[in-house]
Amino acid sequence: EVKIALDSKPDLDTSGSYNWAHAFGKALTEAGMEVREMPRGSVGNESEKFDQVSTGLLEVSLSDVRAIAQVEPFIYGVRLPYIFDDITHMDRVLKAGNIFDRVNEKLAEQDAVLLALAPLGPSSGVITTNAVVRSPADMANLRMRALDDAQIAMYQAWGSSGTIVPWGEVPAGLQTGVIDGYLNSPFVPVMFGQTDFVKNFSDAGVIIPLRAVIVSKLWYDGLSEADRAAVDQAVEVADAAVRVWQTEASERGLTALEEKGVTVQRLTKEERAAFREASKAVYNSGLMPAEDVKVWTELSDSNR
């Protein structure tokens, strides 16, 4: 039995990672394997999912990228702002840099294998309660919710400020004014019912939100050759499916917001470039080792 630990509600409309998991599971089932989707939370939180993958009790997990970073921080390059223009650019970079091989070398020590990076949804934009954001300067007086110190550095580079707030406290924080906004995919305010107080979305395309598909090395290595080929094939099928979904969802995410009364700022190429330029400072803020940043930027530039 192949257990797939999900990270989101099993909703094909709004969840990119579920699209991945669904296509993957379907392909495995067709190849004659028994698949079981484990609902979000049923095998525990992020750290528990990773631990169970590494002990072989869980075969497949859709995990936070952070789960890999605690073993190999190099992966955080995928979260550098504007490192990828779009998902096809990301695919070229990952392939050219042999990123998966590099990461898997370290992950092997934890008996885990990274099989794919699945987009959670369309590219992240700036979500705010009141402020209309079309340029970094528009954010000067805002206090943004940050996920970690990397995001704080990014807001500071934009001339704004960030404060770390756990996701559970975000709705209250937005309503009480502890924070003025956060960075996420356009589906998120709709999914979490925040459109009563979230009023603006700026399509800044900062990062592609990603989930790491991690599998147990014990399970993967223990598969028969035919089964492993089936799994590899299923990864390709799922990767392709989620990319088709993402293209279609990009515009739908924005109109879904508009239907809920959220103003969407569709930024021009030049306006996005202003954010991109301001973000450069983050690259050298010392959060990632300089040589890692160099690897990522060179790969990114040479594969545009």
């Binding site: 590494s54 072989g56 934890q110 970690d148 704080i152 770390i164 756990p166």
Partner: protein
């Protein structure tokens, strides 16, 4: 209470009780420090946010880990002082009736059944023995904002469980709390 046979190897039993008592003495102080650490880091967080408007990222993690240490060490304090919440008082007669020992043996069995597997799997992995136990797995991971190995935080789990086992052994060696008082949680 003093379960177990009277007489016999008194010195050995005294050693167990004395060890349990000194560990308890020490843990009380560490637990107090953990609560204080929690209080001070949260205060730092507030001050940093409002006075310097630059929140350090590590405060939340330090406070949370201090809470985990507080709770797990607190669990040993609760066990040692027999303050754990009980659903139902024992229906068996009180000491020195022989059935009282049966009840105490059953209670101890429950503690062992729960705690021993936890301790075992802290050190031994499903596959790969010592090298793949929980602590070994954790030592390969790094706490996000602190940059220290996770194992320094997660080691609280086996430590608390082993201390509980020690206090259990002391119970059978004849350790009696000064006064039994249940902790009130609700």
């Amino acid at each position: 209470m003093r379960p177990g046979p009277t007489g016999g190897d008194r010195p050995m039993r005294n050693v167990v009780i004395a060890t349990s008592n000194s560990v308890h003495w020490f843990v009380r102080r560490v637990a107090v420090l953990a609560v204080c650490l929690m209080f001070f880091t949260v205060m730092v967080q507030i001050i940093a946010r409002y006075v310097f408007s630059s929140p350090p990222v590590w405060t939340e993690d330090v406070a949370r880990y201090a809470m985990v240490w507080t709770g797990l060490l607190g669990a040993t304090l609760s066990f040692k002082t027999r303050s754990d919440a009980v659903l139902m008082d024992s229906v068996f007669p009180k000491r020195p009736h022989i059935l009282a020992f049966v009840a105490e043996a059953i209670q101890s069995a429950a503690v062992l059944i729960f705690v021993l597997p936890v301790v075992y799997f802290c050190f031994i992995g499903l596959r790969g023995g010592f090298a793949k136990g929980y602590l070994a797995r954790q030592s390969g991971l790094t706490a996000d904002t602190l940059g220290i190995p996770m194992v320094w935080i997660s080691v609280s789990v086996p430590l608390a469980m082993i201390i509980i086992l020690l206090h259990l052994a002391a119970r059978w060696a004849g350790d009696a709390p000064d006064e039994i008082q249940e902790t009130n949680l609700d």
